[in-house]
């Protein structure tokens, strides 16, 4: 009757969660390429990049659905089910944001004003850094399970989360800078374009915020 003993093991959520985060980061890092192409005014490349983003977002959605389907209520886990579901929801916001941003830019054929291009790219890059750091913390998830959420590994993840916080602080500062730059340029640009540029800056900043929230969720998970 060996066949049923194995069934008492539910599917571990760890590997799918990590895989999902990889997709999320990939989508975030594609945003850098996307804006490079926008600035170079190379709209074929922009479309290509957008295609990649949409595909990554779809893949992330599928993984999310898969994870949620597997986390059935009868599972007994070292981590509360709700916290894991929250984590995957927050992670999933990143590719969603990236998709929204890229959709908006393409739909309106937006241009980044020359004077703020460098700092804008820096701002985008820092948000991608935040997503990358979030991915690093999620990559430690299997080690956390291995050690039963205790000891040295816990300190390591704690350190990663505070680094993530630091990066998110940077993105906030950069966001403030870039907004004031845009404010300077406001009068020279069509009002509608300016409105949407503010919107893009805000959405891009949300990528960093979401990365930080991944850290917060993980903090909750390991504090149990």
């Amino acid at each position: 009757m060996g066949n049923y003993f194995s069934k008492i093991f539910g599917h571990s959520p760890v590997a799918p969660l990590q895989e999902h985060m990889e997709k999320c980061y990939e989508a975030a890092s594609e945003l850098g390429i996307f804006f490079e192409c926008v600035i170079q005014d190379n709209w074929d490349q922009v479309e290509q990049s957008r295609g990649k983003i949409v595909q990554l977002e779809n893949e992330a959605d599928e993984l999310k659905a898969h994870i949620r389907a597997q986390l059935s209520k009868s599972l007994y886990m070292p981590v509360p089910r709700e916290d894991l579901l929250d984590l995957v929801l927050v992670q999933d916001k990143i590719p969603n944001l990236v998709r929204d941003i890229s959709g908006l830019v393409i739909g309106r054929r937006m241009e980044i004003p020359g004077a703020m291009q460098d700092s804008f790219i820096e701002f985008v890059q820092r948000n991608i850094d935040a997503a990358k750091k979030a991915r690093m913390t999620i990559r430690e998830l299997d080690e956390l399970y291995e050690t039963g959420f205790r000891g040295d590994e816990l300190e390591l993840v704690g350190g990663l989360i505070s680094e993530l916080d630091q990066i998110e602080n940077d993105t906030d500062e950069l966001q403030a800078d870039i907004r004031s730059q845009l404010y300077e340029l406001e009068t020279e640009l069509p009002a509608v374009n300016v409105m949407f540029l503010y919107r893009i800056i805000e959405l891009t900043g949300d990528v960093g915020d979401m990365a930080e929230r991944i850290g917060r969720r993980l903090e909750l998970i390991i504090s149990h």
Binding site: M1, G2, N3, Y4, F5, S6, K7, I8, F9, G10, H11, S12, P13, V14, S72, S74, L75, Y76, M77, P78, E143, Y145, E146, T147, G148, F149, R150, G151, D152, E153, L154, L156
Partner: protein, 416 residues
């Protein structure tokens, strides 16, 4: 004389069928974790299982066989009607075998032990009378079905918690693992060897003094701990490797221990479960040969060999596939977890075998897995399935009993 031969043949065939079924299906649970973790190949696991199941059956299987053979029904009731006991035991064997066959065909979780106990109690109550059952003993057995998963669960919890505290959460888990692993091996082997020597060996005709028993057990422990240490020291360590690889190597240290627990589990399983198949056979043999219900007659050792051989044949013919399937499905039981669960289960089972109580090895193992889960060791346990498995004996006992009653009356009509 003719009838005796028929009874013996039937008992032998039914008993072998049961033993074959146990070897084909049940053993997988005991061996699969070692294969899943890559500690053993399937071929090696089959060899380990064959050797240690057999050893467990012969060296430590005597007490449980005695319980099944004559502990649960009052032989005095059968003194003037020995045929009834023969029919009953044959019916019980056939009932348990049939039920196991039906259940595994349909994928229902059942316990060999529960079905044979249900079958024996069933034929005794309906075929003979309420008083024919030794209710005290049967009560103990039923209580043990609750106590054994609980015990193994608690032991597994403690073992895994200690592994966590002493090794996994430390800054240098690999060095700690290498230092502590042989100590775990030592205690595991000493405990299992001790129970076996104290409780099992008298059926083989070996009588040892207490001092000899303890010395023997400790020597066994030391010997295997040294072998384990040598094996662990041979694991290569990449000093430049990162943390990720660090834990990987820690698990490889535990993989060495998994080889030892695989032996322990196979031994424990043999010591407890082989009795389900050969206990009734032994009962039939002693009555059929002597023509009376002998209270004193000893257990012929060759019957234990028969059971052990049946299990090995089951393993060789069908068990390979089951082990391979289960092995790939339980990847969550990494060596450190698998070691904790298996050693706790093996110890509990051998302890029960020593006291002659037939328990379900799978339930005990599941109890141990839950214990590791409680210690935050397993990323997801499906409690729905666990509940189903634990409740399955509620169905298995009456099912075994009803089938046994039917077969009992059939035998009575045919031979009586």
């Amino acid at each position: 004389m003719d009838a005796t031969l028929i009874y013996l043949t039937l008992a032998g065939v039914f008993g072998l069928f049961m033993a074959w079924g146990i070897g084909a299906n049940d053993v997988a649970n005991a061996m699969a974790t070692s294969i899943g973790s890559g500690a053993l190949t399937i071929k090696q696991a089959l060899i380990v299982a064959a050797v240690f199941e057999f050893a467990g059956a012969v060296l430590a299987g005597g007490e449980v066989t005695s319980t099944i053979r004559k502990g649960m029904v009052d032989s005095a009731v059968f003194a003037d009607q020995p045929d009834i006991l023969i029919f009953g035991m044959l019916a019980a064997l056939l009932a348990a075998g049939t039920w196991l066959y039906l259940a595994s065909r349909n994928g229902w979780p059942v316990s060999t032990t529960h079905s044979i106990v249900g079958a024996i109690v069933g034929f005794a109550v309906v075929g003979v009378g309420f008083d024919a059952v030794q209710w005290g003993k049967v009560g103990t057995i039923v209580v043990s079905w609750v106590v054994s998963p609980l015990t193994s669960g608690i032991i597994a919890f403690l073992i895994f918690t200690s592994i966590k505290r002493l090794i996994l959460v430390r800054r240098n888990p690999l060095e700690r693992a290498k230092r502590f692993a042989p100590i775990y091996v030592f205690f595991a082997v000493v405990l299992i060897a001790l129970v076996t020597i104290l409780k099992g060996l008298k059926h083989v005709g070996l009588e040892l003094t207490t001092l000899q028993s303890y010395t023997g057990a400790i020597l066994c422990g030391l010997l295997i701990a040294v072998v384990g240490k040598i094996a662990i020291d041979r694991i290569p360590i990449d000093k430049k490797a990162n943390r990720r690889f660090h834990y990987h190597t820690v698990e490889r240290v535990f993989a060495v221990l998994m080889v030892i627990t695989a032996c322990g589990m196979a031994f424990a399983h043999g010591s407890n479960d082989v009795a389900n198949a050969i206990g009734p056979v032994a009962a039939v043999i002693s009555v059929a040969q002597e023509g009376v219900v002998g209270q004193k007659a000893g257990l012929p050792i060759w019957v234990l060999f028969l059971g052990g051989a049946g299990i090995v044949v089951g393993l060789a013919t069908y068990g390979r596939r089951v082990i391979a399937t289960v092995g790939t499905q339980i990847t969550q039981l990494t060596p450190s977890r698998g070691f904790s669960a298996e050693i706790a289960a093996a110890f509990t089972i051998v302890l029960a075998s020593g006291t002659g109580i037939p328990i379900s090895t799978t339930h005990t193992l599941i109890g141990a897995v839950l214990g590791v889960g409680m210690a935050k060791g397993i990323s997801a346990i499906n409690l729905g399935v666990v509940g189903k498995i634990f409740l399955s004996w509620v169905i298995t006992i009456p099912a075994g009993a009803i089938l046994a009653v039917i077969f009992f009356y059939l035998f009575k009509i045919f031979f009586g």
